[in-house]
Assembly symmetry: C2
Homo-oligomer: 198 residues x 2
DNA sequence: CCTCCACTGACACAGTGTGTCAACCATGCC
DNA sequence: GGCATGGTTGACACACTGTGTCAGTGGAGG
């Protein structure tokens, strides 16, 4: 039975994250203590850490699930589709989550918080490195090449690089730029290198 | 007069880093405390932090200067040189420092420590992100394009991605692979996208 | 009603990073 | 030689993070 306790736990976790994000964005990441976040949410510091392992996690974990979804999208694309198109679709899903219709104002604050806080940016990049390894395996399987071939790895790295560039430029524009168009422009640069190795 | 005190300070810092790296690599990063490192170096924890701001810094700062050198190399390349060649030379310098003749056994241990420790890997990527911004400015100036053009940014990101891929594969081979040849193979994948935009 | 279980708060603890202060030591000046 | 001085160090103290442990509490189900 996952129903009641499980759902309540997830609900509390989401509300806690909401309060934390609001407080961190308003006051600044470094100067905000976990005790303050916990107090704002009406709980003890110990209980906070039962929901999120660290102060970084409460911000980053929002994006942690996206990696898994991106992998699913890539795996679901038709096998005959060129890598450039399949990767563009996968990245498009991620950029839509971060900068799309979901909740632009809130997500812009979160993205700016991550990109503007060194320790959070570091965790963000590390998270991406983990996703990169998984995506590489998926793409290599799609193309039917062995692990010695560098193309799948480089293709995935390039795609994630396009994601980063688009996300940064979107944040730099205060959310006024079109994230999908930025992604298209980044992929246009990469496109000549994204053709499968004959 | 920077001579005596300054040089002694730097000398102590280098020996301290050497001891720290040896201890961290032998025992493991997470389970080694700063007190242990300080004790092994015959000093107090407070004094350790006068040389390195954090336990991460004593490892990462070894690579921090490389970013500056890479920027210098890129800026020194002839202006008429194609971006692919200039970037290849800049990255070649970095990969040579990390995996070249300098001290293969020691550097392999350091690289494996960084790549195998999440918090260090995160700092490493963050450090690289900082270098990326500077290199982008240099390349954009070389090409005489404005900041709206994505090519310089994407080209630098691709080059750093080639660096990462080569470094990881070199570490995975336990240092037996040729780092420059790995870099060449990575750049071969990127090459079609590294031509300047007409 | 009673049992069991998940959740919580209240400690305690190890570890990190920083501020502060007194002691020390080498250099340079009188 | 004596002495001021600036840099270095160790010894605290402090705020903060993250974790282990334990007792209390409240609800779900027998």
């Amino acid at each position: 039975m996952v129903s009641l306790a499980e759902r309540k736990r997830q609900l509390v976790g989401e509300e806690l994250r909401e309060i934390a994000l609001q407080l961190l964005a308003a006051k600044g990441y470094d100067v905000t203590t976990v005790d303050e976040i916990a107090a704002a949410a009406g709980m003890s510091r110990r209980t906070f850490h039962r929901y999120y392992a660290s102060k970084e996690d409460v911000v980053i974990q929002l994006l942690a699930d996206v990696g898994e979804q991106v992998r699913t999208v890539l795996a679901a694309r038709p096998a005959a589709e060129p890598p450039a198109v399949a990767l563009r679709q996968a990245v498009g899903m991620a950029i839509d989550f971060c900068a799309g219709h979901h909740d632009p104002v809130k997500m812009l604050a979160v993205v700016r918080l991550i990109l503007g806080t060194p320790s959070l940016h570091a965790r963000f990049l590390e998270l991406q490195a983990g996703a990169q390894a998984e995506l590489t395996a998926v793409l290599a399987a799609r193309l039917g090449v062995d692990g010695d071939d560098m193309f799948p790895e480089m293709a995935v790295r390039m795609a994630l690089t396009a994601f980063d560039a688009a996300l940064e430029r979107w944040a730099a524009s205060n959310g006024s730029a079109d994230p999908q168009e930025l992604t298209d422009r980044a992929f246009a640069v990469l496109e000549p290198a994204l053709r499968p190795p004959a």
